[in-house]
Amino acid sequence: MPAGRPGPAAQSARRPPPPLPLLLLCVLGAPRAGSGADTAVISPQDPTLLIGSSLQATCSVHGDPPGATAEGLYWTLNGRRLPRELSRVLNASTLALALANLNGSRQQSGDNLVCHARDGSILAGSCLYVGLPPEKPFNISCWSKNMKDLTCRWTPGAQGETFLHTNYSLKYKLRWYGQDNTCEEYHTVGPHSCHIPKDLALFTPYEIWVEATNRLGSARSDVLTLDILDVVTTDPPPDVHVSRVGGLEDQLSVRWVSPPALKDFLFQAKYQIRYRVEDSVDWKVVDDVSNQTSCRLAGLKPGTVYFVQVRCNPFGIYGSKKAGIWSEWSHPTAASTPRSGSLAALLLPCLHLALFFDLLSLCISLVALHRFTLPASLLSPSLNLCLSLSSFLSSASLSLSLTPALSLRLTPPALASLLRPPPFHSHLAQATGIGFLEEMWRRSPFLLLPSISSGAQLGCYAGPWRGPRPRETWREVPEGNAVPPPPPPPPDAGEPPSPARARPLPGAH
């Protein structure tokens, strides 16, 4: 049995045929061209029927001149001739038709049942409306954009397929007073939606429901009660920017601005971020971004393009206890993580990087050439320069081991300070009292020695300067080296301080 109340149209099949339409009376004074002089009328006119029901119809000919008979008449339904056995001649001027188990109407304007003369000319027609009454609409949801309006959406009962034009009307009223109002702007966000643009009250509940009506009856949804403040949404956060975090290959920084439309209202905005790899459809969601306008994404793949979106939930507006409604996602913003193993990804500007390696290379080559005398406290017969680069590419630090006495390790922050112009600090200098590196840095930041080859292993760690400024005697530098001659020793130069045992700075590992 169909749901909803039956409408008056459901009874039309049994009513007596209506009088001839006014237009026919007006236009039938003269014979119609091409159709003979016969006229006819089909009864019932435009009946409405349930799917599966039967129809008994008649075509009555008003012949002029007399003699036009029902013999030779035939029926078509939607252009298809109906089998003869469905028709029978009731009398000389009336042909009857019996249709059973009707299917739903093929078009909304009604199925065309036509009575034809023997020569095929159209004598009369009637449109059949076969369908179902509407079922109760359900799943009404509403939201207010920035507290200025209200948009509601619903689901039609029985998936909306009634085979008849069904009219949906959204109604609303203030809960404790006021009259029923009808929404007027339909289909704003889909076929079953309506938009109320203005004149809405805050801090007082509304009752909202949907009425569905067609020729076979009507149905009404359950009533939804809500306060506008409990269903507020807003625009997506504007100005979303995604950028790299220095040289960190697995991180991106996301920044945005809170939606301007609600900036004057007190609320604790919640934000959500989602991101995906460029050629993937799977989004990852960062859920716990509350009341901030920036966030850092970590654990990303190096050298990869990511798309990022942000949305906002203005919950708690004006003290509302409800969850609020998420905005749409912002337009996707793209950014890429640095490539893995890139020197530029780990170190600051190449200029500083080249400078650092040049310094180190010079140090090593000078030692190797025995052109530079390290203090005895530093050198040992088994001086073994061990440059470790194996962990260089996979870690974010550089470590230089000038075994057995010295080790330097640089983490990126320390390296950043290391690579800046003087003062230059290093454990090497501290441990040995050698101000060489610092001196070289100060005198000649652009050295000509190439950086270490990729096969070398290099590690470097540096920390803040802790000791007094070292004093040292400089030897001649080999010709061709771009290092300038050392300055003359200060007048009060004395014994070099005892080297302290190099030890890694706290947190060096």
Partner: protein
């Protein structure tokens, strides 16, 4: 003005606008009529699609019901003098808009989910008014008498359409759309005979 079909003789009437201006006006109106003929064909196709078979089937021959206040171009229309033809064109174009409005209102009930059809019907009413006004401007430029405002049969047509059964309303709507196409096409042909160099 010469009575020969398709010719203009500006010497016969000193009140006629200058020839270049007249030719430009005729040319412009002819172009408009040509464009609207295409739109009228599209309207007809859109209309039959939404009424269901047999309306769209080849060989469909509904009763050619007379429409209050408007008839199809007569078979002898082409033999009339140019001003007379244009006067009949203008009169038909003036009668069409209210009929198209009636059809649109009825179709809004029968096919509420056919926005394109409803929009085309609305556009057709406006286009018919525009073309009718342009034709009357040509008549005025020709120095030919234009008839005064005609009473619109909208009230009678609306009442008839409202009372008619659905099938009859569909047939009447088809008739009105057909008349619109016929008269716009007729106007294009009549103006084309006045455009220099345009084949008759």
């Amino acid at each position: 003005m010469s009575r020969r079909e398709g010719s203009l003789d500006p010497q016969t009437d000193s009140s006629i606008s200058s020839l270049p201006h007249l030719e430009a006006k005729i040319h412009q109106t002819h172009s408009l009529a040509r464009l609207l003929t295409k739109y009228a064909e599209q309207l007809l196709q859109e209309y039959v699609q939404h009424q269901g078979d047999p309306f769209g089937l080849p060989g469909f021959s509904p009763p050619r019901l007379p429409v209050a206040g408007l008839s199809a171009p007569a078979p002898g229309h082409a033999g009339l003098p140019a001003p007379e033809r244009l006067r009949l064109d203008a009169a038909a174009l003036a009668a069409l808009p209210p009929l198209l409005d009636v059809v649109r209102r009825r179709q809004a009930e029968l096919n509420p989910r056919a926005p394109r059809l409803l929009r085309r019907l609305e556009d057709a009413a406006r286009q018919a008014r525009a073309l009718g006004a342009a034709v009357e401007a040509v008549l005025a430029a020709l120095g030919a008498e234009t008839r005064g405002p005609r009473p619109e049969p909208a009230a009678a047509a609306a009442a008839a359409a409202a009372a008619a059964g659905v099938f009859l309303a569909k047939v009447l709507g088809l008739r009105v759309c057909g008349l619109y196409r016929d008269w716009v096409s007729r106007t294009e042909a009549d103006l084309g005979q006045l455009v220099p160099g345009c084949p008759a």
